[in-house]
C-alpha cells in the first residue's frame, strides 16, 4: 500500500486553485466562464499578476547598464528568473537559457542561428505531420536559404507518430530533427529520448517545440538529452511574451546571433562587432523584463502543485472528456488512451463547422478554439478543414466538460443537425 501511495502524485486541490484565478469568476454572455482554451493561452493566477504589479511599482528599471539600486534589483531578478527557468526544465546551467517571447521566436532563432549557419545542400531537416506552423515555417525559410530538404515523420491512424521507418528517415544527411513535445491539436507525445538518440547517432541535433510540453508535464532536458527546447511562458500561467529557449551551451556558443542591437555586443566598429557570450549574445535590445520576472511566480505556482500532479489531473480530465464527447456522438482525434496523450482534445461534432460550433458554445460561456490550430498539414492528414478543440489545465474541473457537452447538444438543435 505504501508503495502505491508513493507512486501516485497527490491530487490537485482544484477548488483552492480556482480561487487563485480571478478571471474564472467572469460572467460572459450572462453565463459563468468555462475556459477550455489553455492550449491557446493559459489564465494567470493572482500571484503572477501581483508579481508584475510589484515589479512595476517597486523595481522597474532597465537591465545591466545602470548603476543605481533599482537597476541592480531588476537585473538580479531577471537573472534569478533565468536560473529558475533552467532548474524548472532540468538544465544545469542558467546560461543555457535565452530569454525571448517564446516558442515562435525561439524556433526562428535556432533555424537562423544554427540552421542557416551549419546546413548545406543535401542535408535534411526532419519534421512531423503534427507540427504547429511555428515549427514548420522557420525550417522552410532555413531550407530555402541553405538548399537543405524537409522530410516528415507521418502520423499513424492511432494518433501516434509512425516510427516504423525511422532508420530510413534519420540518416547521415539528417542534421536536425524538429518535433513537438506534445501536439497542440491532438495531444500526441512523441518519444523524445528515442528521437534524440537516433539523431545523435548520426551527428545531428534535436529541437523540441515545448510550447505544450513544458506547461503540462514534468520535463528534464538533461534526461531527455535534447539539444534545444522552447518554452512559452504564457501557456504555463505566466505573462504573455515570457519564456525562451534552452540550448546546450556547446551549440549556443558556436551559433550565429539572431537579432543585432544593444546589449548583445562586446565591441562595435564601423564594419564589424564582437558579441557577448551566450545567452546575452541572443538578447538584443530592452528585454521582456517584467514578463520573465512574472514567469517566476508561475514557476513557483507550478512547482508548488508538482508537475506530476498537474499531468495526472489533466490525464483524468482528458480521459473524461474523450468519454463524454464520444458518448455525445463526437469524433475525437488523436490517441484514445489518455496515458499516451496530453490534454488537447480536438473533435468533430454533428457535421457542424467548428466555427459555427464555437460560436454557439460561446453563448453558453464555453471558450474553445475552432480552426486549423496553426497545423494545416495535420488537418489535411486528418481529412478535416478544421476541428474544435477543448484543452485543459490545472484549474479545470469535470463539470466544465459537462458544460461543454451540454452546449454541444444545444448547437445540434440550432443547426438541426
Amino acid at each position: 500500500m505504501a508503495k502505491l501511495i508513493e507512486r501516485t502524485p497527490p491530487a490537485l486541490d482544484v477548488d483552492r486553485i480556482r480561487k487563485d484565478f480571478p478571471i474564472l469568476d467572469r460572467i460572459t454572455h450572462g453565463k459563468q466562464l468555462v475556459y477550455l482554451d489553455s492550449a491557446n493561452t493559459s489564465q494567470k493566477p493572482r500571484q503572477v499578476i501581483e508579481a508584475l504589479t510589484e515589479y512595476y511599482e517597486r523595481h522597474n528599471a532597465n537591465l545591466y547598464r545602470a548603476v543605481y539600486e533599482l537597476a541592480e534589483e531588476a537585473t538580479a531578478m531577471f537573472e534569478d528568473a533565468r536560473s529558475r527557468l533552467a532548474s524548472f526544465i532540468g538544465a544545469a546551467d542558467p546560461s543555457s537559457i535565452v530569454f525571448n517571447r517564446g516558442t515562435t521566436e525561439s524556433i526562428n532563432l535556432v533555424a537562423y542561428g544554427f540552421g542557416r549557419k551549419f546546413l548545406r545542400e543535401g542535408d535534411e531537416i526532419l519534421l512531423s505531420e503534427v507540427e504547429h506552423h511555428s515549427n514548420v515555417v522557420p525550417w522552410q525559410f532555413c531550407a530555402q536559404a541553405t538548399g537543405a530538404a524537409l522530410r516528415y515523420l507521418s502520423l499513424g491512424d492511432d494518433g501516434l507518430l509512425d516510427l516504423s521507418d525511422l532508420d530510413r528517415l534519420i540518416t547521415d544527411r539528417t542534421k536536425i530533427v524538429a518535433v513537438t513535445g506534445q501536439s497542440n491539436v491532438i495531444g500526441t507525445l512523441p518519444p523524445l529520448r528515442k528521437l534524440a538518440d537516433a539523431v545523435h547517432a548520426v551527428g545531428g541535433v534535436i529541437v523540441v517545440d515545448g510550447a505544450q510540453l513544458v506547461p503540462h508535464n514534468p520535463v528534464d532536458v538533461t534526461r531527455l538529452d535534447v539539444d534545444f527546447l522552447t518554452v512559452s511562458g504564457h501557456k504555463m500561467l505566466g505573462p504573455t511574451a515570457s519564456g525562451g529557449l534552452y540550448g546546450k551551451l556547446e551549440h549556443l556558443e558556436r551559433m550565429d546571433p539572431f537579432l543585432g542591437g544593444g546589449e548583445m555586443i562586446m565591441e562595435v566598429y564601423p564594419d564589424r562587432s564582437t558579441y557577448k557570450d551566450p545567452p546575452h549574445k541572443f538578447e538584443a535590445g530592452t528585454m521582456n523584463i517584467a514578463e520573465e520576472i512574472g514567469l517566476v511566480a508561475a514557476i513557483d505556482y507550478l512547482e508548488n502543485l508538482g508537475m506530476e500532479s498537474v499531468r495526472e489531473h489533466e490525464k483524468e480530465l482528458t480521459r473524461y472528456a474523450i468519454k463524454r464527447l464520444t458518448e455525445a456522438g463526437a469524433k475525437v482525434f488523436g490517441p484514445d488512451d489518455a496515458d499516451l496523450r496530453g490534454g488537447a482534445v480536438s473533435f468533430w461534432y454533428a457535421d457542424i463547422h467548428p466555427h459555427d460550433l464555437a460560436q454557439v458554445l460561446d453563448q453558453d460561456g464555453v471558450c474553445v478554439r475552432p480552426g486549423h490550430h496553426c497545423a494545416q498539414i495535420l488537418m489535411r492528414r486528418l481529412g478535416v478543414p478544421a476541428t474544435t478543440r477543448a484543452s485543459f489545465y490545472v484549474y479545470n474541473v469535470p463539470e466544465e466538460v459537462d458544460a461543454l457537452v451540454a452546449a454541444l447538444e444545444k448547437a445540434r438543435k440550432v443547426f438541426g443537425a
Binding site: H29, H353, P354, H355, D356, Q359, V360, Q363, P370, G371, H372, Q376, M379, P385, A386, V414, F415, G416
Partner: protein, 140 residues
C-alpha cells in the same frame, strides 16, 4: 446579443440548401480563395457577356456564414449588369463595415447577414465570397 441574430433562419436555409452550388463549364470568370482563419474555401464561377452577369455559381466548403453568403451572392447577382453587381458587392462590404445601410429591396436575403457585423471575427467569413467575386471581376 442573441444567437438568433447571427444564425437567422434564412442563413441556415441557404447553408443547408445552397443555391447554385455547382461547377460552371465554360465560365468566363473563375476564382478561388480561402479564409485561413476558418479554413473556409470558395470558388466563384460566372458567365459574363454583354456587360451582364448571366449566371453565377459557387463551390466550396466552410462555416455556415461563408457558405450561406456565397449561396446568397449567386442568387442576388445573377441577371444584373456588371455595374449593378459591383454596386451590390461594394454595398455589401459597406454593410459589413457598418458604414452602409443596405437597400432592403435590392439586398433581399442578404439583409440577414447584417447580424454578422456584431461578430467581428466572422465578418471575414461573410465577405469571403464577395472578395472572390470582386477579384474575379478585376482579373477578368
Amino acid at each position: 446579443m442573441a444567437l438568433e441574430e447571427l444564425y437567422k433562419e434564412v442563413i441556415l436555409d441557404h447553408y443547408k440548401n445552397p443555391r447554385n452550388k455547382r461547377g460552371l463549364p465554360g465560365a468566363e470568370l473563375s476564382c478561388r480563395k480561402n479564409n485561413p482563419l476558418c479554413g473556409d474555401e470558395i470558388t466563384i464561377h460566372a458567365h459574363i457577356g454583354d456587360g451582364r452577369v448571366a449566371e453565377v455559381t459557387f463551390e466550396g466548403s466552410g462555416c455556415s456564414i461563408s457558405q450561406a453568403s456565397a449561396s446568397m451572392l449567386t442568387e442576388s447577382l445573377t441577371g444584373l449588369s456588371v455595374q449593378e453587381a459591383e454596386k451590390i458587392a461594394s454595398d455589401f462590404r459597406g454593410m459589413m463595415e457598418g458604414k452602409v445601410e443596405p437597400d432592403e429591396e435590392s439586398f433581399g436575403d442578404l439583409i440577414a447577414l447584417k447580424g454578422v457585423v456584431k461578430y467581428p471575427v466572422r465578418i471575414k467569413c461573410a465577405v469571403l465570397a464577395w472578395d472572390v467575386f470582386q477579384e474575379a471581376l478585376a482579373n477578368g
